[in-house]
Every structure is written in C-alpha cells, then in structure tokens.
Symmetry: C2
C-alpha cells in the first residue's frame, strides 16, 4: 500500500507524551510512533516540548499546563488548526484530529478527509448537539458505549486505545494488596473502595491525586477514612511507581461510577497481568471480560464476591488479552486500516453528494428538535 | 439603496441588551434597533432572553451568565456560528459578527462578506497573531488606538460606539462632586482618584462593583481609603442610578491606566453634559477633546489642574459633541455605509484574487516571524 502523509493534531494541554497525566496525549504519542515505524510520513501538531519521531509543528513552545499562563487555550488551539487546514492542507493525505468539536468548522468543507477521535464523554452539555450539526464527519469512538448519547452521527469505527507491551512488566506473583488508582473525585467513588477493603478485610493501597476541585470532598469524606491499618495512602505517583503498584496488586479495585469513555488504567492493569474489579458502567463491560480478566459488578455484594474470587482469575490470561486487544500495534493497525478505507471512499465523488444530503438532514432534525428556535 | 438582509451575531455572555454590565451586547442592541428602524431585514443571533425588534435566533434560552452553568461557552457560541454560516448563509447579504476570533474559520471562505468588529484589547496573548492568520477579513476597530498592536491586517474602518441621546438627560446644573465609575480593578487605578479627591479637597462619589478577582485588591488597598468625609462609596449601581450619578457630577474622574479600546463610560458622561478628566492612554485622546469636552492628563499635576479647571468647560459642548460623534444614529450610519461599501467591492471577482494573495502573504509573514516552527 502507498505510504500516507498523515497529520496528527494533539491537544496542547500536555506535551506529547505527557509527563504525568494526559491520556489523550499519551495515546497520540503511541499512535504517532507506530505510524512512523510503519513508514508513514507523519506530522505531529502539538506543544513544542513534545518528543516524537514524526515531524513536529508547534504553535507554542511549552504545553499549556506547564507554560506561561497568558495563552488563551482556545486561540492557540485554533491557530494550530488554521495552520493545518488553511496553510498546509496540500501536504496531507489524511488528517487525524484529537481536538474534537473545535475541528469541525475547519474540517467539514475541505477535500482532505479528517478522522475525529472523540476522547471524552458525550453525555454532558451541548457536546452531542454540536456534533449533530456535522453528522457527516468521520467520527471514531473509543468504546461502543461512548456513542450512546449521540448515536445519529457518522461513527465509522470503535478503536480501543493501546499501549506498547514493553512498557509494562508481566507479574504472576502479586503481593497481598488491592489497588485504587486515579483521582479523589466523587464520581470515582473512592470511599466505596475503602469500605469494601474494610468489609472484606483486605489491604488496600491508594495512589491518587487531589485536584483543587476535589479538595473539599477529600477533606470531608475521604481523609477521615484513611486512618486504618488496612488502608495505605501513598499519594500521587509518577509513571514508574504507578506500574510497580499495578503489577504487584492482586487486582485493581475500580469503583468508578460514571460513563467512562475508555479507562486507560484498566488496560494498564491487564498489561501487568492484574485483573480488574469494576462497576459495569461506561466502557467497562467492553474492556473487561467478566470471569476472565476481571469481574463486572453492580451491587456491593458483587464487589465483595469479586474480591473473594480474585485468585480464580488467570493473570496470564489478562496479559494475553491485553496484547491481543489493547496493544499499540492493534490500535495503530486499526487506524491505518481506517485511513485507507476513508481515502478509498473519498475517491468516489458520488459519496460526497450523499454525505451532503445526510448532513443537511441532520441540521433539519436539530431544527425540528428545537435546539434552535 | 436596496435594503439589506443583515445577520448580527452577539456574544452569549449577556442578553441583548444586557441588564447591567456588557458593553458589547449594549452596542449590538442599539446597532440592531437602528438598522431595523432604517428598514433593513435584521436577524439577531443572541441568547433567547434578548429583547429586539429584529428576528431573534437563539442557541440557548438564557444568557450564559444568568443561565444554567453546564453550557460550554465555546460550544454554544460555535453552534450559533455553525447555524449562521452553514445553514442560513443564503439568507443574508452581509454578516456582522461581534464574536471576534471564533468567527474566523467560518467566515473567511464563504461568499457572503463578514464585518468583524473587534471589541477587546489586542495587545494581550495570541490575539494579534490569530487575526494575522486571516489578514484579509474586514476588521472594524472601535478606536484608532485599538489597532496599534495589530496594524498589518485589513482594518476597513474605525467606528466609534454610539448611544441614543434619549437615554441620557442633559444637565447644566451639576451638584458639587466628582465621580469614579466602573470596577475596582488595579488597572483602573481607583486609589489615584481617591488620592486626587483628598489632595484637591473635592467630594468624590464612587460607584463601582467588586469582581471576585479584585476582592483582595479592594480589601487591602481601597477599603482603608474609603473612610473619609470627602469619599462617598455608593456600591454597585443599576443603569438609571448610573445616569443620575453621571448627570449630577461636575466631571467624571477616569484614572484608568490601560489601553482602553473605547470606553463607553466616557460617552455616557458626555451625553449628560458631564466632562471627562482622563489619563491619555488608549482611546481617550480620540474620544475626549482636550480643553473642550474634558482634559487629557499624564501626570498627577495634570489631574490636579484639570480638577481645578473643570468649571471652564462647557457642558453644552459636551452634549453637542456626544450627539454629533457618539449618537447611535452616527454609529448606525457608519456601519450601514460600510456594509454597502463591502458589498460593492465584493461584486468584483478580481478583488477576491488580490485578497487571497494578501492572505497567503500574511501566513508567509507569520511563518517567517517564527510564530510556528
């Protein structure tokens, strides 16, 4: 197959790859590296402190979170999109944007096809309505469940995130603890993980950061629960400490109670051979195979049974499932296949017509549904 | 002349007209009313609680500041722009956007000309660079001084803001006080107004709101200065109380120390016949005629002399100058003339070519200047 000239457009919030948090930037990093390794000519649009094998084009020298605060995030992000779509368009066969709705007014009228991976939740605010104004774009979901709030747009594929297996060491001999990993936010239900540990008499390590918005919740609800011999709060951890905690855990105790679009932490656990005990919301039932790589729970009793039956799960199977379904190679191959598909479809001018029809009917629908008076 | 089909696109922060603060929304209101009165077919895109003689199209029922907080301001504003440019474009002869940079990716490729009035400062952040990527658009400045940081784009006209004279009562018999009006923010230098009042032994009324970001400044710097027989702090005031305070003041003491793009409060004062004593920065020397409708000051001594010579200024002249230069009619006529001008130019296809050339040279310049690596 002909090698492609690909633009990858990353958020500017964190560098690519991020130093700590920043799931989207991390996924863009692995995708870009994978496409370069396959011989494609990739240009990465991202903050100037990014590290990449691709050609890097940066509107700002440092990522927004680290750099000077005078930048308007929207303006510098739009400047990057203007660069891609209005100056450099002829340099690309395909554009892959991770900037979601901000991409739409740029992308929908140009001849070069754009792939839009949606990274966030679609059930909040006007997100779905905005996408509904551009139903003909090529949208990629990161789980099937993510699509539910906005089903009527042109979803072309679900592509799960993937990581290189080399980044995670498989461990078949865990220590005697369960792990809660993430943030102390209300919808992640850390208090339930703590209560379950106490109820089941199992040691629980907690590695989590406290965002400013979660400080009250932590102070009032969580901090009083931490002073207990079974609970070991280790604070916020860096990448290598995170992997060590994951691979030595008996299981990841993921009490999250919101429609998680994907949940990278779950595949990080599997990559170490660590099964995942998780509430059955959002992407969880797609990512975790109940009774095989973890347990999907609904009730408190489900969680208790899952904790008691953790040793019945094969850690080797967890790792194998990760390698098969959630490796960076799998993700890269899926996107590459999609790029070729879209380019092939794009070469038939008839397709454009039917897409236009589809699009204006989308606008008509929204008018009827009363989005606009 | 043929009547025009005009789209006015307002910010969604406040309703049109705003209940309290919101200079842009107020100007859009008077402009829209004036254009309707002249027989044009105007469609106002604004929040649903707006009041207008034009046809109103609203993406949200209540303005962002009053409505529910789950709206993303950027998304709902982009939805409004998508509506204008991608669904209703054929319904307009001309589009007038007050949304600044967010309009650019929508407006620059369509056949219907867009007028972009810049309402804010252009000397901060990446604002100027973003406009520089679209130098061919028809930009309107609200003062000549506003243009300074971004001179190389296509400024088509400076059009000063205007208000209907009927909204302000002329008063030739002021009471014995000077007035500070606005916000307690550092760059407005309220402490200087207070110090000047004490130094000159003149009564000063202060009508100002305290934004959350200014609370520390107010508590530490301003509050201790207020307890003085000459100083009368009346709090935050509504529109009618503001006009009463303005018309009864000997002069507006405008110690502001930043490049104000226009300064509506100055024309509100003039409308009442009240002269303006102001620091010579930003638009001040354009709006106020030194020795005629007020005094332009640089030093503390200038301010003191100005205060002492306030009675030498004719309040009648202030009102006349307002009616001639800053009435809504003047503003509406200026915009109407601009719309016709642009439509006439737009009908020559050659013009488009030279504009495209101009535009790509703008991008080339930015590349050379190192905005992008």
């Amino acid at each position: 197959m002909k090698k492609l000239r690909i633009a990858q457009i990353a958020p500017l919030v964190e560098r690519v790859p991020p130093k700590k948090y920043g799931g989207t930037e991390r996924v863009v990093y692995h995708l870009t590296e994978g496409l370069v390794a396959k011989g494609h000519e990739v240009t990465l649009f991202a903050s100037g402190d990014s590290v990449t094998s691709a050609r890097l084009i940066a509107p700002i020298s440092e990522s927004l979170r680290l750099g000077r605060k005078t930048h308007s995030a929207t303006i510098v992000t739009m400047m990057m999109l203007s660069k891609v779509y209005e100056e450099m368009l002829h340099e690309f066969d395909i554009i892959h944007s991770h900037l979601e709705y901000l991409t739409l007014p740029y992308a929908h009228k140009v001849r070069v096809p754009t792939v839009l991976t949606m990274h966030g939740r679609l059930d909040i605010g006007e997100y779905g309505k905005m996408l509904g104004l551009y139903p003909h774009m090529a949208y990629v979901s990161i789980s099937d469940s993510q699509r539910r709030p906005v089903e009527e747009i042109n979803w072309v594929k679900t592509i799960y995130h993937g990581y290189p297996p080399s980044g995670f060491e498989f461990n078949d001999m865990p220590e005697d603890y369960f792990l809660y990993l993430g943030r102390f936010s209300e919808e992640k239900r850390p208090e339930q993980a703590i209560m379950l540990a106490k109820a089941c008499n199992i040691p629980l390590k907690i590695a989590a950061k406290i965002d400013p918005t979660d400080q009250d919740f932590f102070d009032n609800k969580i901090r009083p629960m931490l002073d207990h011999p079974l609970i070991d709060y280790v604070g916020e951890v860096d990448e290598s400490r995170k992997v060590a905690l994951l691979k030595n855990a008996k299981a990841l105790l993921n009490t999250i109670d919101w429609p998680e679009p994907f949940g990278l932490v779950m595949i990080e656990a599997l990559a170490c051979g660590t099964p995942v005990i998780v509430r059955g919301c959002g992407s969880a039932p797609e990512v975790i195979s109940h009774g095989k790589t973890g347990y999907i729970c609904q009730t408190r009793l489900d969680f208790i049974n899952a904790i008691r039956n953790t040793d019945k799960l094969s850690r080797k199977t967890c790792r194998e499932e990760f390698e098969r379904r959630f490796s960076a190679d799998t993700m890269v191959n899926n996107y590459e296949e999609l790029y070729y598909d879209l380019l092939q479809k794009n070469s038939f001018p008839e397709a454009t017509h039917s897409k236009d029809a589809q699009r204006s009917s989308g606008l008509m629908q929204l008018r009827r549904s009363g989005v606009f008076r």
